[in-house]
Symmetry: D2
Subunit: 461 residues, 4 copies
């Protein structure tokens, strides 16, 4: 779960990267970084925290040059330290290089083992560092050729922005798991994970980078290579379900109306007699609108989100049940008392949060609570870059519907069907990765080594 950005030959390259990352903040809140090239030397600034925490108030004079890339990152706590934050920068025989990566390589551990055996040292646990080692070891004379050679070794999900001294390269893996789009800001080409970053800059959207495309921007202009063997593209449908921003134009279509359509189909598949449809804000809103439209049951704002998040408070010792969820959401008793409620959320992972929300709604006086999810049961863990927990923690992988209903303490639970999801997304079963929803894994993977998981679990401040 990361967001990436790049811009080539714009006098305010670093500043625009910061703005771009700000629009991509939903893709990663753990760290933020920008690298720039002044045509001779590469520069890097990164830090833990939100884009505004890392770059707010800074004039970016330490990031000179007219070419830049940016990266926001989310990761599990174990490897949450500064060295792992992107972009990653290194000096090599091909010159300096910086790289921002969205996705997950499934052959990363094999490559790492091979590289270590060849005498490589690793300072991070990122996939990105593996790619830099392959690049550094390539015997190709031209840096771009060396990069292309190293890309061919990669298996899995990789949308990349790569900054060289005098070139910016965008890469999307042949399966096209993660998005990457091309825009234009007054003649300067822009790369971004999602179109919402283009919108913020008032840049024009040109097109998606195609699955398997390597797009090179240098003094000679823009050109594209397709160095990978041809495979069936399988963009990640979970981007539509939850991850992408609702205002982005993703894989060719705007996300919000797709989520609304998921809600409409959900209403057809799992109707219920009720007094009101209540969205779980903010992610459940589009589907709740769709459910309400289709069912004719009025949409009521019975849960209000408090957006003043921040450092955690010390919880009272007494029994203030579900305080963590209460800090974020308020169920409005005056609206919910005695009502039969259809509660609409986008998905259900471990079920613990959903249970707290169901309780909140019931504590506020709801007579019935019917949980409706605008995606199918999540039964597998993602290995291509979405941070789903282990299978053992996935509720739907371990319980049937009745048990799930009991677990979340709802009166009924209804999931969107896989078919319904694809219908709403206007994809079809073979043309989008839905491995987490029980579909096939498009690229084989080896288990992540325990070694990798534990190696660097420390505070590299």
């Amino acid at each position: 779960m990361c967001g990436i950005f790049g811009i080539y030959r714009h006098p305010e390259a670093a500043k625009l990267a910061v703005y771009g990352l700000y629009a991509l903040q939903h893709r990663g809140q753990e760290s933020a970084g920008v690298a720039s090239s002044d045509g001779d030397v590469l520069h890097l600034a990164k830090g833990m925290g939100l884009v505004s925490e890392v770059f707010g108030g800074r004039d970016l004079d330490d990031l000179p040059g007219d070419c830049s890339i940016g990266h926001v990152r989310y990761s599990t706590s174990g490897s949450s330290y500064l060295a792992n934050a992107g972009p990653i920068l290194a000096a090599t025989q091909h010159g300096e290089v910086a790289l921002g990566h969205n996705g997950n390589l499934v052959n990363c551990c094999d490559l790492r083992e091979e590289l270590e055996g060849g005498g490589a040292i690793f300072s991070t646990t990122t996939d990105s560092e593996v790619i830099l080692h392959l690049f550094a070891r390539s015997t190709q004379a031209d840096p771009v050729d060396a990069l292309v050679e190293s890309l061919k070794r990669l298996q899995g999900a990789f949308s990349l922005v790569v900054l060289l001294r005098d070139a910016l390269v965008g890469v999307r893996d042949p399966w096209g798991f993660r998005p990457l789009v091309l825009g234009d800001l007054e003649g300067s080409p822009v790369l971004a994970s999602e179109t919402c970053a283009l919108d913020l800059l008032n840049a024009r959207y040109i097109r998606e980078i195609a699955p398997g495309e390597v797009i090179i921007m240098d003094r000679e202009g823009i050109r594209s290579l397709f160095p990978f063997p041809k495979v069936q593209p399988v963009p990640c449908i979970f981007e539509y379900v939850y991850f992408a921003r609702p205002d982005s134009d993703l894989f060719g279509r705007v996300v919000f109306p797709i989520r609304q359509a998921m809600g409409r189909i959900l209403a057809k598949e799992h109707p219920v007699e009720a007094d009101m449809v209540v969205p779980v804000p903010d992610s459940g809103l589009p589907a709740a609108m769709g459910y309400s439209e289709q069912s004719g049951i009025p949409l009521v704002w019975g849960l209000i989100r408090n957006h003043y998040v921040g450092r955690t408070f010390i919880a009272p010792r007494q029994s203030m049940r579900d305080v963590s969820v209460r800090l974020k959401l308020n169920a409005v008793p005056a609206l919910l008392k005695g009502k039969r409620v259809v509660l609409v959320d986008d998905s259900l992972v471990r079920g613990t949060t959903s249970r707290k929300i169901v309780r909140l709604v019931r504590d506020a006086g709801a007579a019935e609570v019917h949980l409706r999810l605008s995606s199918p049961p999540i039964v597998n863990s993602c290995v291509y870059g979405i941070d789903t927990p282990e299978r053992s923690e996935l509720l739907a992988a371990n319980m049937d519907l009745e048990a799930i209903t009991a677990f979340v303490e709802a009166d009924s639970v209804g999931y969107l069907s896989v078919e319904g999801m694809h219908a709403a997304a206007e994809t079809d079963l073979g043309r989008a990765c839905h491995a987490c929803f029980g579909g096939p894994y498009p690229v084989q993977y080896t288990q992540l080594r325990e070694r990798q998981r534990h190696l660097f679990e420390k505070d590299h401040r």
Copy 2:
């Protein structure tokens, strides 16, 4: 613009005050403070910033005792320094006292001049300090009697929480401008500006404190006095329009459906042929829902809010027009292109932000933009505690509708009528203060002295 909270005899009084303030954060983001009494000594902790910035991660061991009050504050930048943050605490001949105040005294300057003439020194520019001086100078033997005596001198808006060594007192001025409610948490009485603070604590809502009521909680229990001459209560209708949280039960009714009703009446008063209703998030949402329901024009999420706010970025030097509004809102080109849009917001003050939003929607390709406001034209400045700008800066006080429409660059502008507003709120013209919308000022006021405004415009860090 402030939020207040108090709790009497609960073992975790300070912690609950912090939680309560967190729910009231929308009423003031500039500073936050909590005072507690351990039955002998009063304790105080306050700071500039959000509740989570001031109290996040703190264990509050420095705020012992089973009785506490809390205060969040917003104010204009001039007097934005720590000494002015609430609660204000002082030692007096009646013992220590701490006070949190929501509202604005209209005779504050006269009282201050009188007090200075009598040898008082002022460390802040707050109304609260004036009240403490009156309390300290009272010759009544009993602290509560001294407090009541001092309250009788006050004119204007004042909802108060007052902490004494062994008592908590809640006060609402006889006009009832600002809200104040009573709740119960497992036997401990709770005071709060709005019910959403009770909801977060899972406290039971009992009733509003009545206009003119002084409620005293001490070792003898809870009792109420009504020491003020009887006047017609005039609660502030702007709380319904914009200020209160949509999930609060205010003056006896939940806010969200009232705003929805405002939108429905607005649709009747100012219909327009259009393809979609687009809310200005978050405040314009309920009225947009109402407008859509009434008009049958579909609600479309054409503006998306970025909730990752934070420290300001240095803006690019180049012409990135309206960057401040772009950082908060994204207009979705794929949804808006070629469409006729009804843009619904709650109110229009200076008009500069509305103009930027209209431009944003038009830049995203909208064919027409019809601005609809779910409140009447704001033509007067508030003197009872809402931070409206000077009359000279209020757009509707200085332009007719045609000029306003040109100024905000909309195709048309429609305001809810005063009558429509009252109908939605189920108040009537004489029973709510709508001075800002051209109604009478219920309490006479003297001009704020220039002296007060400029006296303390400095950084008391």
Copy 3:
């Protein structure tokens, strides 16, 4: 324990106050503040911490005007909060006033009680606030007259800098307990606690402010009043012994050579056969030099101070004895092994630190450790502004020399006599306050009320 500074009519008044405070940092490390007047309005900036922490890197644009005062403060932890930091600023009927105070009023509690009885409110526990109240209540028409009237009520130690809208006033109590000097920087008069502040600014030293003098700088020039009844001046001899900076010219003489002379007399009074004289750095150095000169025993740098102080480390659980003193001082085994050591320090208060240092020297291999103190036994607590502990904690007030020697684990202990101290300082017994060394208290005092001590022991952040 405080340091004060003032400058009148200099274009960089606030900046010079910061520099002056930096030179006076040894007089108070808890908080630092500067107030300035632009001729119309007073401005204030203050904070907890060192001068460099509060003002480092700031451009001071928020402190405009050509007249300023500054204050550094030390206090016991109980009342260590921002509201108490100086200068204290208030608005009164005589206009705004800011005040910096060095010393301690012995009738502060009586005055405070009287003022509270008259309806005053107190926001701090400082003596300064009492003075401001007296000033505010004066019925004199002219602010300077009002100030002088209020000063006449004060008993005890008070060197003051007072900033009015268009005047700077310096005050030294009639006993002259605390220092205050006048200098000149290119025509602008400067007030400072010690001459080292003048030296840093390259200002010319003119003279001490006389005991009982009130010096007024305003548009009419500089003039002095002597409004107090004439008493025998009794400057504090402990300033010579420990508190003042060694390079200051204090009460007419430079401190370093006086401390050296104390060491010489100490060597005559308490000779001992030894191999080396070792100073306890930094305060014991001058006396150790004198002791070495007089005795002919070589000075050896057997204790080295680590100047990289900072936030406290978490101590190892294991028995790393006296770790707090080891972090500051290192006893050099290679120099001390087998040696008979005369350890020279300036004074002995509780004895716990001295014991740790004696142990350190012995752990490093010293054969004998003879402790010599360049001041007499401290047997009384100071009530005039030096932060000595309660009498019950003063070692010499509770033990005879034999017990003291045992307590600090030395082979012998020798104190400078009162007569020797006065001889070195060239003062005589009646002409300097040495109450802490068993002399008379020059000004009667009432006990500090428990009330005052406990009232505000809280974190006013």
Copy 4:
């Protein structure tokens, strides 16, 4: 300029490393770091700033294990970023390894070029990373053998602490440029750059690590290897002159008395008629004591150092000449007026600071200022780890004595002779590196590549 520390098998390994680094703070103030091993995984925490800033108040739970190394670092600003801070940690085929380095490799660039040519990537510009690459590429099966093999490639100065999963290794290059000592804390072996770190921990000093020694501590005990060809050891004499802490036992002798002896010989070599000897605190003190002893001219504390350093203040615009030096040092007019002063400092590099100090003394009224330096003219830049500037910036490399005297504005300047320096240190001309004082460079070096200098001059935060 760095300090290193290591401890093997102590339950509080990380905490003791922090304490050890605190004692070594004078060797590097830019960054501080500690790595620990729990027998399975290595842990790392580091940060920019002083030890107390990085580790103060931390409980170090994130550094578990009973074996640790620590590192403090100073470097020129260009490469002053966190990635370069020590220790450096990496994962390799030989397992994880962390390394702290004091000294400078003269063949670092050659090795780096060779390694890059072989496909290595570099994340830092440190010598340490070069060593880790050599280690990672070694084909030796045993990690210690691999380490030893890589050490043989190194030319120049390297005192190292190396942490493996289950071993701690100390290394001193065969020339013995930089110090490294062995101590014992209750049975746990300790390595440190200087004995002052042992003193702080109350550890027993055992011996120096010998030039060319590799000392290995693992489950089998302690053993030493001597894998390097035998060369003449040449410890750095500048450690005696300035760099080492005066209380350390260095290369077998305590530093303070050596510096005192330098002052005595200096007095013989460059006598002058004068009224007082004034040390430049703190570094000039020991030599000033020696000069005074030898010459009979009294030592006077005419310059006082202000130890409250901190963030820089914004300098007044007006002509406050030499404000940076005034903030650190005060020349006492009352002591210096009309006097003939011998000003003693340890060395003279660029001469700009000395000139400011001479001016300061003269501004305070000194009649004559005779500058005496307790080391010879510095005429060459160090390539073995002391941060001397380029030859072009060294005053004595570019001017004769007369010009130097004029430049620093002194009445006379006298340098200690090379012979005098060696006599004081009891070394002889062939047995200590004094390349900076015009002696031979004991190890050949290639010029540092411009590439290395500029490559990473950026802010890797």
